[in-house]
Symmetry: C2
Subunit: 121 residues, 2 copies
């Protein structure tokens, strides 16, 4: 197995029907906090910014790398990245997180994330 | 052309020989600042963290999305992401940035970034 700095999951979540979540920064932060708590990711810093007239960015700097979200409520879309240095043997944990995101956003189930190994070598 | 929230460049920069840059947070921040200045990316917030005994993370929250770097000096490696919502017609600007990163880090030229369109639709 090649050495990696972890797995990076890239999620382009489309056709979001939970507009309340998509448009409410505090709810989005709670969702990300829940993920970090459940999977024991250590949040070192949170950067957030609310754009006018809409759109929200949150970036969590983790001990394990980072999580970011950029929302585009006008497009029913959110771009989410989850990159951790956990040496997961497969994609199961990330796919579980992805299912949670799809469920929370009430988004189209017919989409998949891209999961990339970040290789040292 | 499908609608996108921009392009995301994923760089796993290996075999770095500029150990001074790789181990000096201020020099890394200057490098990222130079990129933002040259390409007119607006920095809204910077999050940084120095790990013990080594390793540094910087995440720039941009008007245009984000830039992140995670360094692993012990592996001669840096994981860099550049994601902006600029509607570039091709990868030219990113490849230019990538060449700059490789040059600054004095890294192996024989590697390529992964560039992904982040699609709304």
């Amino acid at each position: 197995m090649s050495q990696t700095s972890g797995k990076h999951m890239i999620c382009d979540i489309k056709n979001i029907t939970n507009h309340t979540l998509l448009s409410t920064p505090n709810l989005i932060k709670t969702m990300l906090d829940n993920i970090c708590k459940k999977y024991n990711y250590t949040i070192l810093q949170k950067s957030t910014h609310e754009f006018a007239p809409q759109g929200f960015t949150a970036i969590y700097l983790l001990s394990e790398s980072h999580i970011s979200i950029h929302t585009f409520p006008e497009k029913q879309y959110a771009a989410i990245d989850i990159y951790t240095c956990r040496q997961y043997p497969d994609n199961q944990v990330y796919l579980e997180i992805y299912d949670y995101l799809i469920e929370q956003f009430q988004a189209d189930l017919n989409q998949q994330p891209t999961i990339i190994d970040r290789n040292f070598t």
